[in-house]
Amino acid sequence: MAKALKERGAVAEAQPEVRLDTERDPIVVVDGLHIIYRVYSGGGGKGNAVSALRRIVKRQNRPQMKEVHAVKGVSFVAYRGDAIGVIGTNGSGKSTLLKAIAGLLPPARGAVYTDGQPSLLGVNAALMKDLSGARNIILGCLAMGMTPDETRAKYDEIVKFADLKPGFIDYPMSTYSSGMGARLRFAIAAARTHDVMLIDEALATGDAKFKKRSKAKIDELRQDAGAVFLVAHNLDVIEETCNRVIWLDDGRMKMDGDPETVLKAYTDATGK
């Protein structure tokens, strides 16, 4: 039994209506979300100490400061067991949307409702660069709230899943290649069942073998009745992993539906 809701907020372009599936259990509700960034467009203006001081005294904002409206009124509902791929061209607001769901960006308008605390895995998120992989595993698990016993029990599984070259587990994480770092981070984060896991290109650097294993892990997380969001430029990964795809275009939702339809429309539109 599904009923359609009229979206009142859409202005410039009608965004797809949100259909509520009352038979499934929602885990993330994004309600008319707007995210506005303040960025400093470097260059231009006088960047010296005197002008900086004058601005502080006059309580002016930096002249080069621009506001970027990155997400414009996106609404959707994610249910338990969903694996949602988020696609769109560069700068379409994919990463911003994920950060907002994780609670790392406050909404300018609208709201994000979740059950439990979402966990965001970004591509650059080395946990603790100066510490060894082994330390990162232990500290990561403890930080997620696992007990020392649980951490010990999970340790071998994480090492095996990350599949690092022999010996690397004792080296500082700053010596890892981007692929190795990404694998270890994913392995650590996946050691605990998360209600909502947000993966931002974190799997892009893995090799084929790892992609297979991470897909299995995502399936496992889905079966534990969490939801997984996946941003990837590699559409194959999305097609294999996700059961639903959201297409963002210039901060607006262009399409929301099953992977086949959305990916086809997306490839047609971008001419890939």
């Binding site: 707007h34 506005i36 400093y40 900086a52 907002a100 960006l105 300018a108 232990i138 500290l139 930080a143």
Partner: protein, 322 residues
């Protein structure tokens, strides 16, 4: 992002500039739907009781994080953790050369070596807790963004690192105290409550500065000057009463009281009084009231801890944003 000044908001922090005509939070029923299924606003601040409980649950994380960071700090150097002992010793040596020998401050204190080194070690504990706290959020952004844990764990862990350092320093100090001819006394036991008060105080200031440092990066440029001023006004190198006689005579005695009751001076005084037997006579000469000092220590600890914790907690959901 290329300029150093960022007094108001840090780079990329979103602002709510609402344009009412384009109100996007239209679908009230989506919010109702979320409420029906007991979904909560993403990253809302937990209640204080829940926050404290989850912080307690992270105690092994805090402890392990502290030890791992200590090991990592020294792993690059050839002598490794020997530096944990050498650094405070060298510090004390430099100050001894400056103030003990060159500037000749030692005449009014019986055992100036122990007096000075005790002051340096105790002050360093507070000073380093403060500067580590200021960086504790900014230096761990990737950890904060990837995993969810009570953020107060980080400043706490940094104070634990400094506590471990202090314990090593204290062992060194005890050796020096005995070597300079002070007998061990029952007073030594008093360093336990003194250390406890200072620890609680340091946690408080480190939490407060962690919030400031997380949102106003300029604090880190400013902090060295603040701590240096604090160093020179806390009687690390001299007995405050002996240097402020002129002030008292000209009717500005309150300056002396403020200096003597400033937290660093209070903790230093209590440590000295507990550890250095010959200092008792020196202190009596200046009429220092140690009962008052103990009260001040407890009050400082409680005020800093409660205030700092509350201040840090109030921004819990905002750390790592932007």
């Amino acid at each position: 992002m290329s300029h150093p000044e960022r007094l108001s908001t840090s780079g990329g922090e979103p602002v709510a500039t609402a344009d009412p005509s384009r109100n996007g939070s239209g679908t009230a029923s989506l919010a109702e739907f979320a409420a029906q299924h007991k979904l909560t606003q993403s990253a809302a601040r937990p209640s204080l009781a829940r926050y404290v409980r989850s912080l307690w649950d992270r105690r092994s994380f805090i402890w392990n994080f502290a030890s791992a960071k200590t090991t990592a700090t020294y792993s690059g150097s050839r002598m490794g953790q020997v530096w944990q002992v050498l650094t405070p010793l060298l510090n004390a040596l430099v100050y001894f050369l400056m103030f003990g020998l060159l500037l000749g401050q030692r005449k009014d204190i019986t055992n100036y070596t122990a007096f000075l080194i005790c002051g340096v070690f105790v002050f360093t504990f507070s000073q380093r807790s403060l500067s580590a706290g200021a960086k504790s959020i900014g230096n761990n952004l990737s950890l904060i963004r990837a995993l969810h844990f009570p953020r107060a764990s980080l400043p706490l862990a940094y104070v634990i690192i400094e506590l471990q350092q202090l314990l090593i320093s204290m062992a060194v100090l005890l050796v020096i105290v005995v070597a300079t001819g002070e007998p061990p006394t029952w007073y030594w036991l008093l360093i336990v409550p003194a250390m406890l008060c200072q620890l609680v105080f340091n946690i408080g200031i480190s939490l407060a500065i962690a919030r400031l440092g997380a949102f106003v990066r300029d604090i880190q440029q400013l902090l060295p000057f603040i701590t240096r001023t604090w160093l020179y006004t806390s009687g690390v190198f001299f007995v405050i009463a002996s240097r402020t006689e002129g002030l008292v005579e000209s009717g500005h005695g309150w300056v002396r009281t403020v200096m003597e009751l400033n937290p660093a001076a209070v903790f230093i005084e209590l440590f000295r009084y507990s550890l250095i037997e010959s200092y008792h006579a020196d202190a009596a000469k200046y009429g220092l009231d140690h009962g008052m000092m103990w009260i001040a220590a407890v009050v400082w600890a409680l005020v800093a801890f409660v205030g700092g914790f509350w201040y840090f907690y109030r921004a819990e959901e905002r750390y790592g944003r932007g």
